[in-house]
Amino acid sequence: METLVSKWHRELEIFSAIKPLLIFEGNVLDQYRYPVEGSLKKDEIVPLSRYLHTWFRDQGYSRVVFYSNLVGFMNPYEPEMLKGYAALTGSEVKEGAIRAEFKGNDAGTAPNVIRRAMCQQREATVTVLEMASHYIITPERTDQQDVNSFNILLQSALSASFVRTPQGKKQNLLIILVNKVNDLPTWFYLNNPVCKKIVLEAPDREERKRMIAGGNIASFFDGTVYRQDMPYYTEHPDELDRLREKFVGLTEGMTFTELDETRRLCKLEGIRMRDFCSAVDLYKYGIKENPWSTLSVDSLKNAKKDFEKRIKGQDAALERTLDVVKRAVTGMNGLSSSSTSKPKGVLFFAGPTGTGKTETAKALAEKLFGDESTCIRFDMSEYGQSHSDQKLMGAPPGYVGYEAGGQLTNAVKKNPFAILLFDEIEKAHSSILDKFLQILEDGRMTDGQGNTVYFSETIIIFTSNLGIYVKDAFGNRHPNVTMDMTYDEVRAKVRSAVEDHFKLELGRPEILNRIGENIVVFDYIRPEAAELILRSQVDKIIKNLREQKKIEIVIGDTAYDHLREAALRDLSNGGRGIGNQVESLLINPLSRWLFDNGVTGNARVVIDDFDTQANPASVVCRVEGSDQ
């Protein structure tokens, strides 16, 4: 197997030869694959400290020690190195460690021990400061002793000596491991010519591939499962390759530690080889049965008919929406990209108000996950402030609301299989768009509490009324599309307006690129669709009254014609407008009449007419064959 060397290792190789101070930030608590043959076996996965110990030892450094402010200096891998280090620095080893406080400038403090090691020329030393993010409370609240400690370290690095070794000249090194570089005082690393920052990333695609390459995949499975399933995959290597490929995609962003935990989980649960990737779901979400994998293509075949029962007159929009969903269900979504960690689908619903955008999202949630409540709606007009991203993703430590977490991240943590509906996205603050960009690109987000939330099992829907009105030079709103335009005209104008908004107004074409071709434009509610909506709403009222109150409502033809004429007079507010009319013309007057006439159940009520001109509107009714 060819040698695979990570970017950070290459940087370590280059800069440890020329810089005396290296700051490692990022994934410092993880384990790493040792990339070369040496005192450790090539490809062995070890903690970072062991990695660094082995690497520098093999480079000719005879004294490699690790410091933490709780324990002091130590070397768990080669205690002899610590003794030599103690001798070099005039320190004393007690119970396997050189005890030294970090704070202050006394001779016995850690920075002074390090200074002596860095400045001597007898033996090549590497001092690794572990957990260095925890040495001071915050960089902004340092006292003089903290400042002194870092100052001594800075001076040590600036005056680091060279040492002759059998493997050539080596400069004494100081390595600091931090979660974030800004956990250290800025003056310590900024404009510091002897300092090099190296970012430790989670294992990349190639690293993850290597973990399950060849026979390595065996260690993910229980012995019985492997013995039973492997013969099939030996005969069908293509299928095993597909499983590997999918696993690599799903594990994007996971650390080596997390990957190893997934490996152990897979084994403990006795997961079959064909269900290999469900181990990732189990690890991330705590469930083995991914609702996406139980969805059949057959169940979506009739989806359009089911949708049409709820959403009228939106043939093209429904077709386009279902295309995206079908792609998600058949697993075709990741084909055009290297990542399968992205959300299952992204849709941008645009169009006039009341045309069924939200209803489509709800219908989709019911179809996919069997429950309309899995459509989680965020009204983006509530996220218009610059700090709104904290409301959505959670406030950072120390800020009000930190404990509560973010509304979006909490919702997805609670239910990772959901439709996320961001209503009126154009009203969100631009800082939120950056967060969305990350979600759309990486499929994950770290909340204020440091928990990673995965969006890879969600469908994200943005809705917007962009393109319905345009503003003139004086800021006055004018309709951009009207009901007398055909759907194709409406679609073209709205699409163009959406594109202009992201490209020209916001200057963020990259967001548009992530949405791709998934802008779905909803048509105006045309008279034919309006008729259907009205009929469906009236039928629903009649049915509810029959089932709940045992009141049979019969609407005479003339009455219905009058109702229709009034309800469909103005379709500019779409289905919602029709609903409002039905409420004021039918529900309210009918309730009033039933109440006034003491009809509370077991009756047949005939509506002969509606007086839509009256204020409020009224109904002309009679009870047929009442037993009251």
Partner: protein, 217 residues
């Protein structure tokens, strides 16, 4: 691989068994007599039940099924040069590694070799008479034990059921089979039998398990 699987002559097989005995006694400090497909645990003379019930590390017979041997991780042995958790010594790991490939291929000779070397039921013979393990197929192990009269007096059925469950757990721990059948006999007559599957025992809380649940009617 093809050579390894080739049928060996009786003399060659004796050599293999001899070699395994050597490894086994190094690894586990004792070795059982055994054949190619039948391993017989090291039978020690039965002693007073109460005395052995107090033996450290072995629970009383009334709760014998609550603990079991540690599972050998054959797939880890196949991949790693040393135990990833650092809990298994290098010599023992080397033994696992040597057999991992054959065991995971369902090779019954390898099963027999491992059973002979690991002697998974050896510690239970204080509760039984003669005990035998059969390897009828790559997916199944069968154990038959002669009951110990001393334990039959109090609650015979529970004794047989509890011990059978413990035997099944130990056998699942040593080899990657998905079924284990256990029979308890008296003078060759089957008094009790039970069938166990790995899936049914997986993640079960044995402190809350009634071993009678597995008894065959």
């Amino acid at each position: 691989m093809a050579d390894e699987n080739k049928r060996k002559t009786p003399d060659e097989e004796n050599e293999v068994v001899k070699m395994l005995r050597g490894i086994g006694s190094d690894l586990w400090g004792g070795f059982a007599a055994g054949g190619e497909e039948t391993a017989k645990p090291d039978v020690k003379p039965a002693a007073e039940p109460e005395k052995h019930a107090q033996k450290p590390g072995l629970p009383a017979i009334e709760r014998i099924w609550e603990i079991a041997d540690e599972t050998i991780d054959w797939t880890d042995a196949l991949v790693y040069d040393s135990a990833p958790d650092g809990l298994t010594g290098s010599r023992q790991w080397a033994f696992y590694k040597k057999y991992a490939s054959a065991v995971l291929a369902g090779d019954l000779k390898a099963y027999a070799a491992v059973l002979t070397a690991a002697n998974p039921l050896g510690d239970l013979t204080v509760f039984t008479g003669d005990m035998k393990i059969r390897t009828p197929g790559a997916d199944r192990l069968e154990a038959v034990f002669e009951v110990n009269e001393a334990y039959m007096k109090k609650n015979a059925k529970r004794y047989m059921a509890g011990l059978s469950l413990r035997i099944a757990r130990d056998l699942f721990a040593v080899l990657p089979v998905s079924e284990v059948g256990v029979e308890a006999c008296e003078n060759g007559e089957v008094l009790f039998s039970a069938e166990y599957t790995r899936d049914r025992l997986r993640k079960r809380s044995f402190a809350c398990t009634d071993p009678m649940d597995f008894a065959e009617e």
